[in-house]
Amino acid sequence: MEFELFIKPSLAFAALFSGFIFGFLLRKATVSRFDTIVSQLLLKDFTVMKVILTAIVVGGIGIFSLKAVGVIPSLKLSSTPLLFSILGGFIFGIGMSVAGYCPGTALCAIAEGSRDMIIGVVGMLFGSFFFNLISPSLSSYLVQNNFASQKTAGELFAISDWAFIAILCLGWLGFVWAMKRFDRLKQG
């Protein structure tokens, strides 16, 4: 295989810059720390959920609005069989508990000086390698069992995606309210 070295400089800069912002934000949320992630999993501190749910709600409103006016040409949904998503999520969850990080926050941990996650990323490289080893035997299954893949909630239930955005917004407001109470209780 012949390889080119770089993508276009403008794209490279855009990728570097957006990655920079993402890493900066993750670090400022302190999800670059073992204690923050595992406190979430022990249901003692909900920083991780606060970040994820708010990102989903704001991103959801932004994406579906800009799609409606044509600025975002199409959605970019990941594709995998439903079963693989469940199985992968389960394995990923165990990994998240054991490592104390997910892949993005592990990179931030390294940048913040947590050397253990350098070993963690080496483990990730081997994990990808192992998936690659078994990938040829998965490929036929990947093609055949794709029914929920690349579908939005709206498409699956044949209603407007905006209905789900509205539900998400309400759910988010309820979450924020519950968190206010939870954090007050925690402080004593």
Partner: protein, 176 residues
């Protein structure tokens, strides 16, 4: 500017800004994703040592025939951004691994071992599901992708019990 010196920003603010970042990236045809970038590093290392097998996952991953592509620059950016955010912080930083140390002590090899095993499972699971916390939970979640929401539920359904199993009992003062 004072806010940039703080150790911790409001998680709601961070979440909203990440949602904004995702929206902007989608106008360019990209999403936020980390695990495929790490898998790509693994694929490039493989290709450097021996050609990847035809029809394999790595083969598909490298089909754009560029070494330093969008994903590689994106994860490099994450490292830089988190590094700069740390360096800007002037507030005192709390201890970062207290829950681990309460449960398993301060021996480095134990933490490194867990980091390796955890990392292995993270990327294996992420590649099976075709996304991780950023690609599935945030990018897919915001697009209302069914498999992404399923992934998120499965993630917490296993991560929470395992965390209680590993860190709760032995933790002493970790209790709720």
């Amino acid at each position: 500017m004072e806010y940039f010196r703080k150790d911790r920003w409001s998680p709601y603010l961070v979440g909203a800004l990440i949602g904004g970042l995702l929206t902007v990236l989608m106008t360019m045809g990209y999403t936020i994703g980390v695990s495929s970038g790490i898998a790509r590093v693994s694929a490039l290392l493989h290709q450097a040592v021996a050609p990847v097998q035809e029809g394999s996952y790595f083969d598909r991953l490298l089909s754009d025939h560029v070494i330093f592509n969008w994903k590689i620059f994106f994860i490099t950016g994450i490292l830089l951004g988190a590094f700069v955010a740390s360096k800007l912080t002037t507030e005192e930083i709390p201890k970062k691994n207290t829950i681990w140390e309460n449960a398993f002590g301060t021996a480095k090899w134990k933490r490194n071992f867990a980091a390796f095993i955890g990392g292995f499972l993270l990327l294996f699971g992420a590649r099976l599901a075709n996304g991780c916390t950023s690609g599935h939970a945030i990018s897919g979640g915001a697009q209302l992708s069914i498999i992404s929401w399923v992934f998120m539920l499965a993630l917490f359904a296993s991560a929470i019990p395992v965390a209680f199993l590993l860190y709760q009992k032995k933790g002493g003062n970790n209790g709720i």
